[in-house]
Symmetry: C2
Subunit: 205 residues, 2 copies
């Protein structure tokens, strides 16, 4: 009735806890390493453990990947929350976008190998990140830094997905990121030729 294969309670013995952390760190390392193959075997070797131990510590390979990915994502979400408290909403948005791209470029997490996995923790963090971005945009809009004639969803998705794509791009570089953010911010700025509303895009939804 309850969780059938509960994600394993906190292990009790000291070595178990230590090994759990080793496995987690190993997974994080490999997740970030570009060409790495993400098998239990590989992770175990990276951690200096047996494959069985690695799996047991999390119950499932997927659970381990989930935990590792979430761990990597955590500081970014943290930063997003901080950005929400800064003074100038427009500047905060711009700065955070740059950070976002940087982060995603540095950790090329989620390298496509983990597409189609069940990653509840990660999904939650992604939602939080998305919500924070949404709030960031709303703040910027209220402050008049962003045009109001575009449906809010556009900007959220645009920035969330596009930054990811840019960061993943093979020729990613600081210049590219900066140029991208400039274009986006200029495009999102209230446009001169129109009042608050512009008929070009109709937020019919």
């Amino acid at each position: 009735m309850s969780t059938p294969k509960a994600a394993q309670q906190q292990p009790r013995r000291a070595d178990a806890i230590r090994n759990r952390n080793l496995a987690l760190e190993a997974a994080k390392t490999l997740l970030v390493r570009p060409g790495a193959t993400l098998t239990v075997e590989t992770i175990a070797r990276q951690a200096g453990l047996g494959a069985a131990t690695v799996v047991r510590a999390f119950g499932t390979k997927d659970a381990l990947i989930d935990a590792a990915t979430a761990d990597l994502l955590e500081p970014l979400v943290q930063r997003a929350r901080e950005a929400l408290t800064e003074d100038d909403p427009g500047a905060a948005l711009r700065a955070f976008l740059l950070e976002l791209i940087d982060f995603q470029a540095a950790h090329r997490v989620m390298s496509g190998q983990l597409e189609g996995l069940q990653l509840p923790l990660t999904a939650t963090l992604r939602t939080e990140l998305r919500d924070a971005l949404h709030a960031m945009l709303a703040r910027a809009r209220d402050a008049g830094a962003i045009r109001t004639d575009i449906h809010p969803a556009v900007t959220t998705v645009l920035l969330g997905e596009a930054t990811y794509a840019i960061a993943r791009s093979s020729e990613s570089s600081p210049e590219l990121a900066a140029g991208f953010v400039t274009v986006m911010m200029d495009g999102l700025r209230p446009q001169p030729g129109s009042g608050a509303q512009e008929p070009e895009a109709r937020p019919t939804v």
Copy 2:
């Protein structure tokens, strides 16, 4: 010395050719179907053939996927070439971007399952598409429809990758696409506050 495992000459017998096409169509169907599992078994069932036949027709599963993906991509590349001959470069670019997103949203090709595969045909088409987009942007820039203070690579990558991301987004919709393109085009337009050059982004590369 020559190609070691040549991609199989055109099969000679009529039924072989027919089956080859069946396999190709089946693969295309499954490539576009969102949740589909892309195994030889699945493709064979979809085509009403045996697994062995499907593989034999292309020599390799990868070759089949490659051919199918390339087949799907083909018309898009065609459209890109046409867009290059239209009169108003700015309008052509805008129109093509909308088509691009539409296309990618409709066929959610390359669903991540085929990340890390060797797809020569597809790679070639992607390059062509990319080149066409590059040319389209150059034309728009020359026509004064696009700002010149951003490094050209920014725009190419931006539009190539970002449209892909937008299209893949879960809440993709025509409104979203339209809003996105509007923001992009406005951001790419020559900006009022600056001359031809703006110090904000430095094309140091």
